[in-house]
Amino acid sequence: MRLEELWEQLEARLATWGRTHSPWAVHFNSGSCNGCDIEILATITPRYDLERFGVKIQGSPRHADILVCTGPVTRQARERLLRIYEQMPSPKFVLAVGTCAISGGVFQGCYNVVGRVDAVIPVDMYVPGCPPRPEAIIDGILKLLEKAQAEGVAT
């Protein structure tokens, strides 16, 4: 019995280590002005180079651990955002980038805007700014990973 418990513990720690050291991220723009999106793209370019932290931005939500959301959620994009979130395998994290994703920003009250991202899907980390600097986005992702590491993401 004792050995089995130990083995489980080791497995959980190994899974957490693996998951927080090379997470793949998927990006979705749910009605953003593009500002945050180009800054997210800038994080993977040579000056900022997010990949040195093991984070890779790639296309498919089915391969992703982190969903990076930008922009207020529009009525047309709402269902797509939900679908992408549901397509991601667990454990999964959501990073809301930019003022609009956090609160709706300047687009509050527009007729086609549902509102902030956490009104649609649960959000784990927020990066404020209009748009946030690439450094801030990297910091947000790393803080998210620290948090995940501390809490453990075995399941």
Binding site: Q76, Y111, N112
Partner: protein
């Protein structure tokens, strides 16, 4: 002869009123049924290109005004057409200028102006679950009405 004088000459047969609101601009008021003929005259003379269609809602006068902006270099020619706010309808100019399709569909869904004969009347900007018959750029638009029951 400047480009605007030329345009004024081309449209003389249909112009109900001609105004020059700013330097380099000419507004020509025409009747709704003359739109296609006027557009064809401009197109045949290769006068500029269609830069956009603007709708203006004026509930006080009970009208929706539709503005067809044509640009040629620095000059802007605007065909102004007033429609009744109840059941507004206008002919499509896509047979003359195919690129107008997008603008006409925007006009139709934002102002509820029926564009007769536009090749693709489907929804352009608004979400799939938007309530039919609710037009966001009309002055009396209320957001609650746009949500389907």
């Amino acid at each position: 002869m400047t480009a605007l004088e030329q345009a004024q000459g081309l449209l003389a047969a249909w112009a109900q009123e001609t105004r020059t609101p700013e330097a380099g601009r000419l507004d020509v008021v025409i009747a709704p049924e003359k739109l296609v003929a006027a557009t064809t005259a401009l197109f045949d003379a290769r006068w500029g290109y269609l830069a956009g269609i603007t709708g203006l809602d004026a509930p006080k006068s009970g009208q929706i005004e539709v503005l067809y902006h044509f640009c040629a270099g620095a000059y802007v020619l605007t065909l102004r057409i007033a429609l009744a706010r109840e059941k507004p309808s206008i002919a499509s100019i896509c047979s003359v200028i195919p690129a107008a399709s997008m603008f006409e569909r925007e006009l139709a869904e934002m102002f509820g102006v029926a564009v007769v004969g536009t090749p693709d009347p489907s929804r352009l900007f608004l979400p799939d679950d938007w309530q039919d018959g609710v037009y966001p750029l009309r002055k009396d638009f209320a957001e609650e009405a746009s949500h389907a029951e």
